[in-house]
Every structure is written in C-alpha cells, then in structure tokens.
Amino acid sequence: MTEFQENQLLDARGLLCPMPIVKAGKVMRGMDDGEILKIIATDRGSIVDFPAWCEDTGNELLEWHEEDDGLVFFIKKVEEEDW
C-alpha cells in the first residue's frame, strides 16, 4: 500500500452513486495536470466506478485500498491530449 501526497481531498463518505463520481468530476475540473486527488468513499459501488471513470476520462488511478473509515482512492489528473 502506497500513500501519495494529495493536492486535494474529497470526502465522499455517506454519499451514494452517482454523487462520489459527480463530486470527483467537479473537483478534477479545477485541478492541474499531474495533481493528485484523494477520495474517501463509503459507497461500495465506487470500487468499480472509479476505475471505469478513470478509464473514460484518461485520469490515472494510482492506488486504492480500504481503511476503517472508508475506501481510499488516489487519482492523478491527466489532461487529455490534443490530436
């Protein structure tokens, strides 16, 4: 288990789908390329939703694990490349 130094923290505990994703999307919009967002969530659906969301947005899921107070995700913002 690796701990990353986050630039922003999102406490999504107690929220159910789609709110953890919606809130993460909103915070990410205001972040710069390469910055790290730490999310704590209690919605079990997040385990599947955050990896899928990362695949679709191009952001990188660095690591996730379970702690006593919730599921912890570290996601790195990756700006979409122009083509």
């Binding site: 107690g14 789908c17 789609p18 994703i21 919606v22 999307g25 909103k26 679709d56 083509w83």
Partner: protein
C-alpha cells in the same frame, strides 16, 4: 518521416493498431450521451438524472429529451408532481403486504412517496432537486418535447430555467452523434 525501408510488416501492423486505438478514443460520438426520459414518477425520475450527471462527470456532453410524463421531471412543480404509486406495482417494497384495493385508497400515493423519499434520504441517495441542480451546473442539456407540451397544455414558463425546447428531429440529430442512447 518514416524510414519505410527498415520497417517490418509487424512494425506497420503495430503502428496501425496504435493509430486506430487513438482514433477510437477521439471518436466524438464517444463523448455524447442522448437519452429520452418518458416516465413521470419519482422512482423513474432517478435513472436519467443519475446517468446524465455521471456522464457529465466523465466529461461527456449529456442531453435528456423529456417527453410525455417525463416532462414532470423538469416542471417547476416537480416536487409535487413526482410521486410513486404502490397500486399495480408489486415491486414496490411496503412495510406490510397490501392488496391493490387498499393501496388504491386516497392518501396512499402520498404515503408511498413519503416512504420512498425518507428511505432514500436515510441511505444517502441524492434528492431529485440535488440531481437537477448538479445537471444544470454541469451543463447537461434538458430538452422538453414541444409536442407533448402542446398536448398537455404546458407553456415554456412552466419549466425550470435553462430548459430547452425541441422535437423528435432535434433528439435524433443528437442521438445519431452519440454512442450512448437510452430510452427510459
């Protein structure tokens, strides 16, 4: 410039594969989500709003076309209009089993609606108002079906600020540019 002389057939295949993969990623239709919301009860108001806001959070351009009873969802009085009826709905969880002659009695719709709202709030599900606010903030396009509005006698001013108006051709024009299209 590519030095084609030194490229093997496998190199070319590899390059083509990577370029196709990138092209798929850049397919504009991949970013578009077009839905029809046709139902006007509290329970059925959730799926289109959940999917549209989740799509917007994944950088999709989401649009919902509200038709027939779905217009209730974007009506200014959506709080009063979105109800759930236990009658004829055996899937609706009730505290005790009740026959339709009981659930069809006056006040039962309000009771079932209140029950669903309190269950959702206890579990941490967003309210319809919260989802609508998020949808507007994230620029989800909410489009009211003009034809149904005319049939039901609605005016543009009956709907939430920011709602657009359109017809079947407008929806299809969006839908043909969207990989994700759903009828709810």
């Amino acid at each position: 410039m590519l030095e084609t002389d030194s490229l093997t057939q496998d190199d070319v295949r590899q390059i083509v594969r990577e370029e196709i993969k990138r092209a798929f990623k850049k397919d504009p239709a991949r970013k578009n989500l077009s839905m029809v919301a046709s139902k006007g009860t509290l329970d059925w108001a959730y799926p289109p709003l959940i999917l549209a806001t989740a799509g917007a959070a994944a950088n999709m351009d989401a649009a919902i076309f509200f038709t027939f009873y779905g217009l209730n969802i974007i009506h200014k009085d959506f709080e009063k209009k979105l109800l759930v009826a236990p009658t004829g709905n055996p899937a609706m969880p009730m505290p005790v089993p009740m026959p339709d002659v009981i659930t069809g009695m006056p006040g039962m719709k309000a009771f079932a609606t209140g029950m669903m709202k309190s269950m959702f709030s206890k579990k941490g599900v967003a309210t319809i108002k919260e989802l609508l606010d998020v949808a507007m903030e994230m620029e989800v396009r909410l489009i009211a079906c003009q034809m149904t509005m005319d049939v039901f006698g609605y005016e543009e001013s009956d709907f939430l600020d920011g709602v657009e108006f359109g017809g079947a051709a407008a929806f299809l024009s969006d839908a043909r540019k969207s990989h994700v299209t759903l009828f709810i």
